[in-house]
């Protein structure tokens, strides 16, 4: 079906079974939606760690997190067996993450970061250097917008340093969400 409706200086609407195109012959400031909008196909995921990952860093190891449990995974672009999100459509993505660590000894630095297969650039969500007591739960959180092209893989890692052994664990639970990662293709 194609329907057009043209008045003087009015929007032009063209409809087909799966899409609606609208153009306006003069400059207007904004796109306005009068009703709530949801889609079942926009790439979007929210995943968390259902069990504590014990002794994964603390010695400077960059530990890539495999969030194993999926709350949302529209488009199935997040793989909960390897922790990778594979960009299904080029665009700007918003990511947010929070990773809770605990340590069994004094540490001197902790961070969490995003990495992509597109370049060697590391995008830090959290970056701390200092002297940090053992046992304290530290949230490593942050959000970022990244321009990504189709096929790029994205991962989240945490690094805790200051000891010769892996004294830092990542907290996870099946009933309480501590450590999670979310992302979506921005409309």
């Amino acid at each position: 079906m194609t329907t057009t409706n043209v008045l003087n200086n009015a929007p032009l609407i063209v409809g087909t079974p799966n899409q609606v195109s609208v153009s306006l012959p003069v400059t207007a400031p904004a796109l306005t939606l009068a009703t709530p909008v949801t889609t079942s196909t926009q790439p979007m995921f929210a995943v968390y760690l259902s069990n504590t990952e014990a002794s994964v860093t603390g010695d400077g190891t960059v530990h890539q997190i495999t969030y194993d449990t999926v709350l949302v995974n529209q488009g199935s672009s997040y793989n909960n067996s390897n922790g990778q999100f594979t960009v299904p459509v080029s665009g700007n993505y918003l990511f947010t993450t929070c990773n809770i660590t605990s340590t069994s000894d004094i540490t001197t630095g902790y961070s969490s970061s995003f990495a992509t297969s597109a370049s060697a650039t590391i995008y830090y969500a959290t970056y701390y250097v200092g002297t940090f007591s053992s046992g304290i739960f530290k949230p490593m959180d942050g959000s970022i917008i990244l321009p990504l092209t189709i096929g790029t893989t994205v991962t989240v890692s945490v690094t805790v340093s200051g000891q010769a052994t892996k004294v830092a664990s990542l907290r996870g639970s099946s009933s309480t969400i501590y450590t999670y990662w979310c992302g979506w293709l921005m409309l």
Partner: protein, 187 residues
């Protein structure tokens, strides 16, 4: 698909189970709810600091952060020379920022805040008070939604206090993203 008539350049939206009709300005846009959606015109930006700003606070000075490199800047509403985002369209915006601060000498407080030209209200994303020893690095991270009107300018500041001289730097790098500011007009 029901079509709603359009008169006198007025915004019009109509919807059905799987479709929405929307008004777009200037050029023809296509919106489909059966495939992922992206737009090249929705205001969105991500900007980061490509070099460390050394010894800019620590003595209570409030410093505007000028994120000088912008991998995402749809509509070019973020100015990399001033650090300010100018709201192009009335609406609700999400902002997220992470500022990594380093102090070479002990400080007793630090914060990061979002500021707007609309009022004197300060929107803190992080506030810390305590004792932070020499040569430590920490993250001030946060996200917020704000309703904003066109023309309003938005920028980030950081403040570090507790020392008589500026001993706090903002961490930046051309190859690693530490300190950044993102914003987006929410649909």
């Amino acid at each position: 698909m029901p079509l709603t008539n359009v008169v006198n350049n007025a915004p019009v939206v109509s919807g059905s189970t799987n479709q929405i009709s929307v008004i777009r300005s200037g050029i023809t846009d296509t919106v489909s709810l059966n495939t992922p959606v992206t737009t090249s015109t929705q205001p969105a930006f991500m900007a980061y600091l490509s070099a460390t700003e050394s010894n800019v606070s620590g003595d209570g000075t409030t410093v505007k952060v000028v994120y000088d490199t912008a991998p995402v800047n749809q509509g070019a509403y973020y100015d990399t020379t001033t650090g300010e985002f100018t709201v192009p369209v009335n609406g609700n915006y999400i902002f997220t920022a992470s500022n990594i601060l380093m102090n070479t000498v002990l400080v007793t407080g630090y914060n990061a805040a979002l500021n707007t030209s609309a009022s004197g209200v300060i929107y803190y994303t992080s506030v810390y008070a305590g004792t932070y020893p020499a040569n430590s690095t920490r993250t001030t991270v946060g996200s917020i939604f704000l309703p904003l009107t066109a023309g309003t300018r938005v920028w980030m500041t950081i403040t570090s206090s507790g020392n008589g001289s500026p001993v706090t730097s903002i961490l930046g790098s051309a190859t690693t993203v530490y300190t950044y500011f993102c914003g987006y007009l929410v649909l």
